[in-house]
C-alpha cells in the first residue's frame, strides 16, 4: 500500500485492493461474499501473484465473481468448478488456481467433483462459502441448511425425515489424504476477518508445495435468504450455524 498522506497529515492505512475491479458488488447488503472477495484479492495483491492466478467462478450468487476479481477467470457450469479448476491446474501446474464456490455448487450438484478433486490432492485452493441456502435463486434449501431452518423449499423448516441431515462436507474433505490444509472460518467480526485472510494467505502460500488441496470454508450469512438484517443475520449465524459448523482448522500440514 503506497503511503498517501491526506491533507491533514494522516497516513493511508487501509484501502480497497487493486486486484478488485471498480465494478460495484451486486451482493445483497451485508453479504459475506463481498468480504471474502475482498480478502482473497487482498492476498493475491500482497503475494504479488495476480499475473499467475486463474480463478474459477461457480454458478450461484458469486456467478459474477469474474466481474470483481481482476485476474484471469473462467465460469464453470453449476457444480463443476472443481473439475474446471483441475483442467486449468493440470495445464499450468505452477500457476495459482482457485475455485470459489457456494454450498449448493460445491456440496449438492458438485459433490462428486468436490470429493474427487480433493481425493486426487489437486493442488488448488477451494474457497467454499457456506450460508446454508441457495441465495441466487431466491432462498431455497441447500445441503448445509440446518434442521428446522425455514427456506423457500422447507417452508415448515428442514425435516430430517424428509430432507435428511445438514451435510458437513468440509469434515468429509478433511478425512481425505489428498487434503493438505482444511479450515473453517467466518467473516462476521474483525477478528474472524483477520483469521480468514490469514487462512486464505496460508492456503495460497501452500499451493506451490504441491502437497494437496487447500480447502477454506467460510461460514457466511444470507440476510435476504434468512430474511434478517445483516446485523441480526450475523448474530443468528453465531447462535445457530457455528454449533453445526464450528470454526477452526480441521486439518493442518504436519
Amino acid at each position: 500500500m503506497e503511503v498517501v498522506t491526506t491533507t491533514n497529515g494522516m497516513e493511508l492505512v487501509y484501502q480497497k485492493p487493486s486486484t478488485l475491479t471498480d465494478t460495484p458488488f451486486h451482493y445483497c447488503p451485508g453479504c459475506g461474499h463481498g468480504v471474502v472477495h475482498k480478502l482473497l484479492m487482498e492476498v493475491v495483491e500482497e503475494m504479488g501473484i495476480q499475473e499467475q492466478t486463474i480463478g474459477i467462478a461457480p454458478v450461484g450468487c458469486s456467478v459474477f465473481a469474474y466481474n470483481y476479481m481482476n485476474v484471469d477467470m473462467q465460469e464453470a457450469a453449476h457444480g463443476r468448478a472443481a473439475a474446471v479448476a483441475t483442467g486449468v491446474k493440470r495445464v499450468f501446474p505452477d500457476k495459482y488456481v482457485f475455485s470459489y464456490q457456494g454450498d449448493g455448487d460445491l456440496a449438492a450438484i458438485g459433490t462428486g467433483e468436490t470429493i474427487h478433486t480433493a481425493n486426487r490432492g489437486e493442488n488448488i485452493l477451494v474457497v467454499f462459502i457456506n450460508n446454508a441456502i441457495y441465495g441466487m435463486t431466491g432462498g431455497q434449501m441447500a445441503p448445509t441448511t440446518l434442521l428446522g431452518m425455514v427456506t423457500s423449499t422447507t417452508p415448515f423448516g428442514r425435516q430430517q425425515a424428509v430432507m435428511g441431515f445438514p451435510l458437513k462436507i468440509t469434515d468429509l474433505i478433511a478425512q481425505l489424504p489428498g487434503a493438505y490444509y482444511v479450515t473453517r472460518q467466518a467473516v462476521h467480526t474483525t477478528n474472524a476477518v483477520r483469521k480468514t485472510k490469514k487462512a486464505l494467505r496460508l492456503a495460497l502460500e501452500y499451493q506451490p508445495r504441491k502437497k494437496g488441496i487447500c480447502f477454506v470454508e467460510v461460514v457466511s450469512n444470507c440476510p435476504s435468504g434468512w430474511k434478517m438484517t445483516p446485523v441480526e443475520a450475523n448474530a443468528w449465524m453465531e447462535k445457530n450455524m457455528f454449533p453445526m459448523y464450528p470454526l477452526g482448522d480441521l486439518k493442518v500440514p504436519q
Binding site: 485476474v71 484471469d72 457450469a77 479448476a85
Partner: protein, 361 residues
C-alpha cells in the same frame, strides 16, 4: 489435410486415433472408461505423459468434459472420448463450450441405445451429434470416419477446424471402427502446430485486461449478439463440408450412408452394379456441415435415393430436406447394434429398381 505419412501398420481404430492425437499435438486429455472406447483412455495414460500431454481419468464423463473446458479455456489443445451414454453426460458441457467459444475434440465411439443399450456399434447418436444434444442454438463440427485410416486422419482435421472456428468438434465413430484393426499410415508428428490463443486464461499480465471464459450473458441483448456471432460462424463452417462420391455420375439409385454403414452400402453398390443396376453412393464425411448441396444437385439425375443407417432413420431426414421432395428417399436401417449386411441392402436396391421397372442393362 495431406500430411506426410509413414508406411502403413496394423492398428486398432481406437489406438490409431489416440496415437494420431498425440501426433497432432494433444496437450490435455480427460476421459472415463466405457466400452467400446476405453482403449483411447488406456493408450493415452500409457503414452501421453512422455509425449507432453497431461492425461487424467476423471470420476465421470461429466467431470471429464468440464476438465476439458478448463484446459481448453487455459489454451491447451484438449480432448475427451467416450461412447453414447457418456457422451450424453457431456452435452451440457458441450453447450457451455460453444457459447464460451472453446475449441476441443470430443470422440464418440457410439454404441447401441437408447439407455444402457449394448456395446455393439450403432449410429443412433446422429441427431444428438448434429442437431445439438445440449441446450441452446449450437452445433458441433462433426466428422464421420469410416476406416481406421480416417480415425487417425480426422483427429488432425477436428483439432484444426475446432481451433479455426473456436468451436468443439466431434468425431462420430462407432464400436466397430474403434475395435477393428486395419492398415493405417499415421500422419507425421508436429504437422499441426499449436495456434495462438490470446483469449486463454493464462494469468493476467499487467499489459492486458483479464481474460474471462464464460458462457453467461445475462443481458438478452448481449446473449443475442453471442448467438448472432455463433450463427455467422456456423454459416462460415458450411465451406468445410466434405463428402465422397462413389459411382455417382451415372447412378440411378443413389445410396447415402456414412461411417460403417457407408462401407456396407459401397459393397451393395458393387453387387448391384454386377447385376446391371446403376447404383452409386454419396458418403457424407462431415455430418455437420451436412452435404445438402451435392445431394440436391445429384437428385436431379437420380431416380431414387436409398439412405442406409444403423439407427431408426435420422440422417434420412436431412437427405429428405436436401432433396426437398424432388425424388423419393427410401430408408434401410438396422437398430440396437445390429449391422445390416450388403445383401440386405442389395435387396432394397433391387426392390426399388423393380418398382420403377428400371431395365437391368
Amino acid at each position: 489435410m495431406n500430411q506426410k505419412k509413414e508406411p502403413p501398420r496394423l492398428m486398432k481404430g481406437n489406438e490409431a486415433l489416440a496415437e494420431a492425437a498425440l501426433r497432432a499435438g494433444l496437450q490435455a486429455y480427460f476421459g472415463y472408461p466405457i466400452t467400446p472406447q476405453s482403449e483411447i483412455l488406456e493408450y493415452l495414460t500409457e503414452h501421453g505423459a512422455k509425449r507432453g500431454a497431461v492425461v487424467l481419468q476423471a470420476e465421470s464423463e461429466l467431470a471429464a468434459i468440464n476438465m476439458v473446458y478448463g484446459a481448453a479455456g487455459a489454451g491447451a489443445r484438449a480432448m475427451t472420448s467416450s461412447s453414447s451414454p457418456g457422451i450424453s453426460l457431456m452435452q451440457e458441457g458441450l453447450s457451455y463450450m460453444t457459447s464460451a467459444q472453446l475449441p476441443c475434440l470430443v470422440v464418440n465411439v457410439s454404441r447401441g441405445g437408447p439407455g444402457l443399450g449394448t456395446i455393439q456399434p450403432a449410429q443412433s447418436d446422429y441427431f444428438q451429434a448434429t442437431k445439438g444434444g445440449g441446450h441452446g442454438d449450437y452445433h458441433l463440427i462433426v466428422l464421420a470416419p469410416s476406416s481406421v485410416q480416417e480415425m487417425a486422419d480426422f483427429v488432425f482435421d477436428a483439432f484444426r477446424l475446432s481451433e479455426k472456428y473456436r468451436n468443439p468438434a466431434m468425431i462420430l465413430a462407432d464400436g466397430a471402427l474403434g475395435q477393428m484393426m486395419e492398415k493405417v499410415s499415421l500422419p507425421a508428428e508436429g504437422s499441426l502446430p499449436p495456434g495462438d490463443k490470446p483469449w486463454a486464461t493464462v494469468g493476467k499480465p499487467a499489459s492486458r485486461e483479464r481474460n474471462i471464459i464464460t458462457s453467461l450473458f445475462i443481458e438478452p441483448e448481449r446473449m443475442e449478439e453471442v448467438n448472432l456471432h455463433l450463427q455467422k460462424k456456423y454459416h462460415e463452417i458450411q465451406q468445410e463440408v466434405r463428402y465422397e462420391e462413389i459411382e455417382t455420375n451415372d447412378a440411378e439409385i443413389l445410396l447415402v450412408a456414412f461411417g460403417l454403414a457407408a462401407r456396407i452400402a459401397q459393397k451393395a453398390v458393387e453387387l448391384a452394379r454386377e447385376k446391371g443396376i446403376k447404383a452409386g453412393l454419396l458418403r457424407p464425411i462431415t455430418l455437420y456441415p451436412f452435404p445438402s448441396q451435392i445431394i440436391s444437385s445429384l437428385s436431379r439425375k437420380v431416380i431414387s435415393f436409398l439412405v442406409v443407417e444403423m439407427n431408426a432413420g435420422q440422417m434420412v431426414e436431412d437427405v429428405r430436406l436436401a432433396v426437398a421432395g424432388g425424388r423419393p428417399v427410401a430408408f434401410k436401417g438396422r437398430m440396437g447394434g445390429m449391422i445390416p449386411s450388403p445383401e440386405e441392402v442389395l435387396e432394397e436396391i433391387e426392390s426399388i429398381a423393380e418398382s420403377y421397372r428400371i431395365p437391368a442393362v
